[in-house]
C-alpha cells in the first residue's frame, strides 16, 4: 500500500457509496447471524420465512396449521387440532367479574394454565389473583399476589433472590380432579377441611381481584408493537402471532395490567397435560422468547363455549358474553350493577368489567 498511490478520477463517489451500502448490509447480516444460530433445522428455517398471519393465503394457512399439528404430534406424541377460526360477526366479547363473590381460590388460574397449555416450568400464569384488605380498598401498593403461599404464614413469602428457584406449584390429586371435571367440586361446602396448610380463602377482612388481560378497546400494547405481531380482532380479543413476535417486550412495558408474559426459557409442557384443542392465536404451544397473554380462551369462545375460568369458578363470580347482544349476561351486568374498571384514567377502555353483584 502506498499513500502516494493516486486514485483515478474515475472512481466516482457513486461507486464508493454503493460499496459502503453493501458493507452496511453486510453488518446488518452479521447482526442477524446470532439469530440464525439460535435455531437450526428445517423447522426454524420454515418459521424464519413464514409470513405474517394476516397475510397468509387460505392455502398457506392450511399448510401452516397442518405443519403445526405435525410438530405438536412429534413433540408431544399427541394429535392436536390447531384451528384458526375467525371472529363471529356481530360479536364483541365482554367479561364480568363479581368482586363481591370472588373468594380468591385460584382455581381459575390453574384451569387457565391447563386449558391454554401454559408453561409449567418456568410457570406462566395468565391470571394473577391479588389480595387486598377491605380497609384499604384497591390500592396496588398494598396488593398481595402470594397469599397462602406455603411457608409464607399469612402474607407473601420472604424469599431471597439468591435462593434456587422454588419448584413449580404442585397440584394435589383432588385439585387435578377438579380441573378435569369442574362439576366435581360441588357441593362446594363439602370440601374437606383437613388438607394442606391451614390457610383458607377468603381470609377475613380481605377481598380478591383476579387480573388477566383486560382486552382493551384501546390497547396500549398493540400501539407499541414495532412489528404488528399483536392486534385486536373484530370480536375485541387482543391476540399475538407467536411466529411473528420478536420478543422485544415493549408491549409488556406498555401494558397497564401486567397481563403479558414472556417465555424467558423454553416452555415446559408435559405431554399428558397438553390440551389438544388449539387455536393458532390462542393456546397452541408457544416458543421461547415470545410474549403471550389471555385470549378469552379464543379456542373455546369462538366456538360458543365459555372460557375455562368461567367454567371452573366455584362461586360463579365470572361472567362472559356478547356485548352487542342486549340479552346477554354481560349487558345485564352493565345495565344493572355497579361496575368498576381498573385504571380508568388511562382511557384504555377495558372490556373486562368488575362489578358488585350484591
Amino acid at each position: 500500500m502506498s499513500l502516494n498511490n493516486k486514485p483515478s478520477r474515475q472512481l466516482n463517489r457513486r461507486k464508493f457509496l454503493g460499496d459502503s451500502v453493501k458493507s452496511a448490509l453486510g453488518i446488518a447480516a452479521g447482526l442477524a447471524v446470532p439469530g440464525v444460530l439460535s435455531g437450526c433445522g428445517t423447522k426454524e428455517i420454515e418459521n424464519f420465512f413464514q409470513k405474517h398471519f394476516l397475510e397468509l393465503s387460505p392455502a398457506e394457512l392450511k399448510s401452516l396449521l397442518a405443519r403445526l399439528e405435525r410438530e405438536n404430534l412429534k413433540k408431544y406424541g399427541k394429535s392436536t387440532v390447531v384451528s384458526a377460526k375467525p371472529a363471529m360477526p356481530g360479536v364483541l366479547f365482554g367479561y364480568g367479574l363479581d368482586l363481591s363473590r370472588c373468594i380468591g381460590c385460584r382455581r381459575c388460574v390453574h384451569a387457565c394454565v391447563k386449558e391454554n397449555n401454559q408453561s409449567r416450568d418456568p410457570a406462566i400464569q395468565w391470571i394473577r389473583v391479588l389480595e387486598f384488605s377491605k380497609e384499604k380498598g384497591i390500592d396496588f401498593a398494598e396488593a398481595n399476589p402470594y397469599y397462602c403461599a406455603p411457608g409464607s404464614g399469612a402474607g407473601a413469602a420472604d424469599s431471597s433472590n439468591k435462593l434456587p428457584a422454588a419448584p413449580p406449584p404442585q397440584l394435589t390429586g383432588e385439585q387435578k380432579q377438579i380441573l378435569a371435571d369442574p362439576v366435581s367440586q360441588y357441593p362446594l361446602y363439602k370440601e374437606k377441611e383437613t388438607e394442606g396448610p391451614g390457610c383458607k380463602v377468603p381470609r377475613p377482612e380481605h377481598f380478591y381481584v383476579p387480573i388477566s388481560c383486560q382486552q382493551c378497546e384501546n390497547p396500549p400494547c398493540v400501539k407499541v408493537c414495532p412489528v404488528k405481531a399483536t392486534w385486536k380482532e373484530p370480536d375485541g380479543i387482543v391476540v399475538i402471532d407467536y411466529n411473528w413476535c420478536i420478543g422485544c417486550r415493549y408491549c409488556m412495558a406498555a401494558c397497564p395490567y401486567g397481563a403479558r408474559h414472556f417465555n424467558w426459557a423454553e416452555p415446559k409442557l408435559p405431554s399428558e397435560d397438553v390440551n389438544p384443542d388449539m387455536h393458532y392465536l390462542g393456546n397452541r404451544p408457544r416458543y421461547r422468547g415470545v410474549v403471550e397473554k389471555c385470549t378469552y380462551c379464543i379456542q373455546r369462545t369462538r366456538n360458543g363455549r365459555y372460557p375455562a375460568c368461567v367454567e371452573i369458578c366455584p362461586v360463579g363470580a365470572r361472567k362472559f358474553g356478547n356485548l352487542l347482544d342486549p340479552n346477554s349476561e354481560i349487558r345485564y351486568i352493565l345495565e344493572h350493577k355497579r361496575v368498576l374498571i381498573l385504571k380508568n384514567d388511562l382511557a384504555t377502555r377495558p372490556k373486562f368489567f368488575y362489578f358488585y353483584g350484591l
Partner: protein
C-alpha cells in the same frame, strides 16, 4: 296444638313477608323476562343430596310427621342449622308429609331439583339475578345451551354462608440471578 299455632303463625308471617317483598321485585322480574327464557326445565346437575339419606322416604314415612320443633338428637346431627334459625325450622322448606319433596309457601310441592324456586321466595333480587345468569354459575355455551347450578350447589341450605376453602397453589415468586448486587426481595 301449640305447634299448629306456631306453624300457622310462621306460614302467615312468611306469606306477609312475601307479599311485602313482592311488589319490589315483581317489576324487575318482568323486565328480566327479556333475557333468555328460563323455563322450569332448567338444566342443572343433580342436586347435591346425601346418598346416605336420599330418598328420605326410606326413613320418613309418607303422610306422617312430627311437628314438634326440637333439637335433633339421633339423626341428622351433622346438620348445622344457621339459616335464620330463630324464625324457621326444617318443615318450613321440607314437605312435612312427603320428605322426598320440598314445599313452597303456597303449599305447592316441588322436587329437590327445583329448590331454586323455594329459595327465590325470600331472596327475590338474588333469584332474579340467578335467572338472568348474573348470580351463580353457568357453564356451557355463552350463546346457546347453558347449564345452571342450583343455589344448593354452592350454599349449604342449612348454613348458606360460603365457607372458606382451600386455595390452589400460589404463583412462584420471581427469582433472578443477581451477580454482586444480590438483593433480597420483599
Amino acid at each position: 296444638m301449640n305447634q299448629h299455632i306456631y306453624s300457622a303463625v310462621t306460614a302467615i308471617g312468611l306469606f306477609l313477608l312475601l307479599t311485602n317483598v313482592k311488589p319490589a321485585w315483581a317489576e324487575s322480574l318482568e323486565s328480566a323476562s327479556n333475557s333468555p327464557p328460563v323455563s322450569d326445565g332448567i338444566q342443572t346437575p343433580a342436586p347435591p343430596l346425601s346418598p346416605d339419606y336420599f330418598p328420605c322416604t326410606t326413613c320418613h314415612e309418607k303422610g306422617k310427621t312430627n311437628n314438634q320443633r326440637r333439637q335433633l338428637k339421633t339423626d341428622h346431627t351433622d346438620i348445622v342449622f344457621e339459616h335464620d334459625e330463630k324464625n324457621r325450622w326444617c318443615l318450613d322448606c321440607h314437605a312435612p308429609l312427603d320428605r322426598d319433596k320440598l314445599h313452597l309457601a303456597s303449599g305447592e310441592l316441588i322436587e329437590f331439583s327445583q329448590s331454586y324456586r323455594l329459595c327465590g321466595q325470600c331472596h327475590g333480587p338474588t333469584y332474579r339475578d340467578w335467572k338472568v345468569g348474573v348470580h351463580g354459575k353457568r357453564t356451557g355455551m355463552w350463546n346457546g345451551q347453558k347449564n345452571y347450578f342450583l343455589c344448593v350447589h354452592c350454599h349449604d341450605p342449612h348454613s348458606p354462608a360460603i365457607k372458606p376453602i382451600q386455595p390452589f397453589p400460589a404463583p412462584d415468586k420471581p427469582t433472578g440471578k443477581p451477580f454482586l448486587l444480590g438483593a433480597k426481595n420483599k
